[in-house]
Amino acid sequence: MARGGPFDQERELPTEVLQQLRAQYHLDESILQQYYRSLENLFHGEFGPSFAYRGVSVSDILADALPISLALGFGALLLALLLGLPTGILSAWKKNTKTDASLRTLSSLLLALPNFVLAGLAISLFSFTLEWLPPAGSGGIRHQILPTLCLGLPFAAQIFRLARNEALSALQSAPTRTARAKGLPEAKVLQRHVFPRTLVPIVAFLGPATAGILTGSLVIEQVFALPGLGSHFVQSALNRDYTLSLGITVLYTALLGTLTFFADVLLARLDPRIQSLR
C-alpha cells in the first residue's frame, strides 16, 4: 500500500476535519468496499471526484484535457507517417547516394536524442533566436507546431527506418524485377510493388508507436506547458490523486487497446498471410 495520502499538508489537519474528508471521499471504507465502489462507478463511466482539485470531478478534467492530448498525439502520429514513409522509400530507392546517407544520418540523430532535449533545442532556436513561434502555452495552431514536431520527429525517424528496410527488400524482390523487365516506369513500380509492402511493418509498428507517443506526451506537455492528459497524469501521481490517475490510466489503456486492435485488423487486411497464421 502506498504511504502518504492526498490530504497530506505541511500543517496537520484536526482529526475531525480529516475524518470528515476521508468520509466524503469514502476513504474510511474497507479496501474491498472502495474497490467495489470504483468498479461500479467505472461501469457508469464515472471516476468520482478528484482528490487534488476540490469540487471538480475526474470526468470534467478528462473532458478538458483529452482534446488537447488527442490533437497533439494524432498530429504527431500523422506527421511521423507523412514524413517517415515517403523519405524511407526515397532513401531505399536512392540507396548509397548522398540523399540516402544524409537522411540516414538525420534519422539516427533524431533517434539518439530524448524528445525534451529536442524540444529545448527547438525552443531556443525557433522561439528565442528566430522568434517565429511561441515557446509554450496553448492557444491557436501556432502553439501546436513545436510540440507536435518534437513529439512526432523521433517516430518519423523510426518509421523511416522501417520503411527503408522494407522498401529495400521490395526493390530487390522478384515481382519488382519482373515489372521492371516488362518496362513499367519507375514511378509505377514504386507505387504498385514497393509502397504497399512498406505499409505492413509500419502498421505493425502503430501499436508500439501509440504507446511511445503516450509516454512521450508526458514529457512534451510538461515542457510546453500544455494542460493535457500527460501533465495531469504526472501531477496526479505526485499528488496522490488516486481517482484522477486511475481515470487517466484507464483512458490510456483503452486508447492503446483500441488503436492496437485497429492496427491488427488493418494488418490482416494488408497482408493476408497474417490471417492464416494461426
Binding site: S108, A112, G120, F128, T215, L238
Partner: protein, 281 residues
C-alpha cells in the same frame, strides 16, 4: 563503413575510459561551486572548456560524471532486463506446448498495458518508502534498475524464446534428453551457453534504450536525483535554465551532444552486431 566503425568505437572507448577513471583524474568534483564563475560560455581551449552552469560548476567535469552514471545505468539496467527475460524466454521455448502458450500470453498481457505508466506510478510510490529501503541497503538507483529491467524484459524474452525454439530441435539437445537429462540440466548445460551470443545482441540493443529511459525518468524527477549527476539531470537543468534573457545554450547543448553522440555510436554497433548475428543463424 570501416572508418565509421573505428570512429564510433574509439569514441565509446574514450568516453567509457574517462568515465571509469574519472575519480583518478585530477579534476574538481562535479559539485564544486565556484562563486563568481557562474554561467561562463564554453572557452573551448582554456579552463572551463565547456563553460559553467548557474552555480559555477564546471560543465566538462559534470558531463563526464554524468557519463559515469548514465553508462552504468545503461549497462546494469539492460543486465537486469536480461536476467529476467532470458530465463523466461528460455523456459517458455524449452517446455513448449501449454506452458509456452501461457507464458507468452502473459507477456502479451504486459505488452498491452502502457507499462511505462505503471512504472512511473511504482517509482513515485516507492519514493515514499525511501527511508525504509535505505535501511535495507537499497538506494533510489537500485529501484530504478529494477524498474528498467521490468520495462525491457519483454523484447528480451521474445528473442530468447525464438532462440530456444531453434535450440530445442538441435541434435545435442535431443541426445541429452535421450540420455535422461532433466529439463533443468538441459537449460543450464545446453541452453544458457548457447544463448550467450543472443544475449550480447540483446544487450547492445537494450543499452541505448535504457540510457534514453534514464533521461526520461530523470526529467520527470523519478530517476537520478540531484546532487547526483546523469545526462538526464544535466539536460533537465539545461532545459530549466533556458530563458530568452540570459544566454545559457551550452547548458543544454553540451549534454545533448554527449548523449546524442554516445547513442549514435551505440546504435551503430547494436545494428552491426545484430546484423552479423542474423547472418550467422
Amino acid at each position: 563503413m570501416k572508418r565509421a566503425d573505428a570512429l564510433t568505437l574509439s569514441f565509446l572507448l574514450l568516453l567509457a575510459g574517462a568515465a571509469l577513471f574519472l575519480p583518478w583524474l585530477s579534476l574538481p568534483a562535479p559539485d564544486t561551486m565556484e562563486l563568481g564563475d557562474q554561467l561562463i560560455p564554453p572557452q573551448w581551449t582554456e579552463h572551463p572548456i565547456l563553460g559553467t552552469d548557474s552555480k559555477g560548476r564546471d560543465l566538462f567535469v559534470r558531463t563526464l560524471a554524468g557519463a559515469r552514471i548514465s553508462l552504468w545505468v545503461g549497462l546494469l539496467g539492460s543486465f537486469v532486463a536480461l536476467l529476467i527475460g532470458l530465463p523466461y524466454g528460455a523456459i517458455s521455448g524449452l517446455f513448449g506446448g501449454r506452458t509456452d502458450r501461457f507464458m507468452m500470453r502473459l507477456a502479451d498481457f504486459f505488452e498491452s498495458v502502457p507499462i511505462t505508466i505503471l512504472v512511473l506510478f511504482l517509482l513515485s510510490i516507492l519514493g515514499e518508502y525511501r527511508v525504509e529501503l535505505q535501511e535495507l541497503g537499497l538506494s533510489r538507483l537500485h529501484i530504478f534498475f529494477f524498474a528498467v529491467g521490468f520495462l525491457f524484459w519483454l523484447p528480451t524474452a521474445r528473442i530468447a524464446r525464438a532462440e530456444a525454439l531453434r535450440l530445442r530441435q538441435a541434435l545435442f539437445v535431443d541426445a541429452a534428453r535421450s540420455l535422461g537429462a532433466s529439463p533443468k540440466e538441459i537449460l543450464i548445460r545446453h541452453f544458457f551457453p548457447n544463448l550467450l551470443p543472443a544475449s550480447v545482441v540483446i544487450m547492445t540493443l537494450t543499452i541505448p534504450r535504457v540510457i534514453l529511459m534514464e533521461t526520461f525518468l530523470s526529467f520527470l524527477g523519478l530517476g537520478v536525483e540531484p546532487p547526483g549527476v546523469s545526462w538526464g539531470i544535466l539536460a533537465k537543468e539545461g532545459l530549466a535554465a533556458m530563458n530568452p534573457l540570459v544566454q545559457s545554450w551550452w547548458l543544454l547543448a553540451v549534454p545533448a551532444t554527449a548523449l546524442g553522440l554516445t547513442l549514435i555510436c551505440l546504435n551503430h554497433w547494436g545494428d552491426k552486431i545484430s546484423d552479423s548475428f542474423r547472418a550467422n543463424t
